[in-house]
Symmetry: C2
Subunit: 231 residues, 2 copies
């Protein structure tokens, strides 16, 4: 194989398995462990309602199509709004939206959230018609400073984001189940969205495990109708 | 760059970011979504005690060295006993040990667990002397059938294991915090270990969230002393 086409294969492989931006950074030589950029990003952490129960009770050969159907819907929505999927963890998805402008990144993430919810509903309708197991997405959104780079050992690395904001978004996503809300966003995210306030509604203040400060959490007002009408 | 050396770079990159065996499988052309092998594997799911609290309170520039120090110790222990690290998730590590013989794979995983615990203690001693934050490892071990292959969307894939056994090992690992035990193994794992029974001691039967059957869980008797003496 010529080295130009091999390089293209390497680029596709690394982009597919690491995410587009992380793949580009790794191929550009940012492969030293410990090198990490401090960046501001909107953090997306989603998972699927009752995934453990469903995968425990569904026929084994149904699990991968189930995950792929929903992953496809959610990942496409994230990519179309400029987000980057950093990590798939079973039913979990960690993605980031970076932008010079915090408000614009939050708006892009919220638009992706609405798109993903519609796409997930469409997947569920299609699967229901085939009497296949269905689910919903639980999503936490947050914005903050993270470290973006290589973490791990000399032999095994991960190009990802770490930091308190990443832990927070995972805890916020976990609160969706407790509060039975499809989408929860942090107060930092709600502030960055700015006007119209009618997009978001407070659900109260909660202590998140391991996170020092109790957090005001918000959900989409009227399931995001205002946002969908006025993008 | 010659294509032979570029191929070597691709192999190193893919192995480093996907894990050794998954990297080999992807480069061998197993890159189609939906292709998954049904394999039996010992599943390792570990994380770090109080990671969220530590990363929330430590100086930001300390977080990556903290993660790298402990990841290095744990990943090396897994690799030295023939395990394969599939996924790093912040402080979490998902690894598998595959073998024709279930008992041998369980023994290898338990040996890696003892090595990792010693290595983690050594890291903590070194860090304590430098007045840096320290932690411990929480580890769940299980054995069962999993699907091993590509999951995700057309654009963004993950080469990993999925299935009820993967969810179970993550719940078992989560019980370490509740029961304040450094290592918990499933009854399937305990049965596969066979004699000497003196290696493991029951900690009782527990309901794991989303998992149908309550599980008997076991921990290392005398912190693995019998195992370390008689490998």
């Amino acid at each position: 194989m010529k080295s130009a086409s091999l390089a293209r294969v390497a680029e596709t492989l690394v982009g597919t398995y690491l995410g587009r931006d992380a793949g580009r950074r790794v191929l550009a030589g940012r492969i030293a462990r410990g090198i990490a950029d401090r960046i501001e990003a909107v953090l997306w952490f989603s998972d699927l309602r009752s995934y453990t129960r469903i995968s425990d009770s569904a026929a084994p050969e149904q699990i991968i199509p189930f995950l792929n159907d929903y992953a496809d819907a959610i990942i496409s929505a994230i990519h179309e709004r400029g987000g980057d999927v950093l990590k798939l963890m079973g039913d979990g998805i960690l993605a980031i939206f970076t932008a010079e402008d915090r408000g614009r990144a939050c708006h892009a993430a919220l638009a992706a959230a609405c798109d993903a919810r519609s796409a997930v509903t469409a997947v569920s309708r299609r699967r229901e018609a085939q009497t296949l197991p269905t689910t919903d997405m639980y999503l936490g959104l947050h914005v903050g400073e993270v470290f973006y780079g290589n973490i791990g050992s000399q032999e095994r690395l991960d190009f990802t984001v770490v930091g308190p904001a990443v832990n927070e978004v995972s805890r916020i996503s976990g609160m969706c189940r407790t509060l039975d809300q499809p989408v929860l966003v942090s107060s930092a995210f709600a502030s960055a969205i700015g006007e119209p306030k009618s997009l978001l509604v407070s659900v109260g203040r909660y202590a998140l495990r391991g996170v020092g400060r109790p957090q005001d959490l918000y959900t989409l007002e009227n399931d995001g109708a205002a946002f969908i009408e006025e993008p």
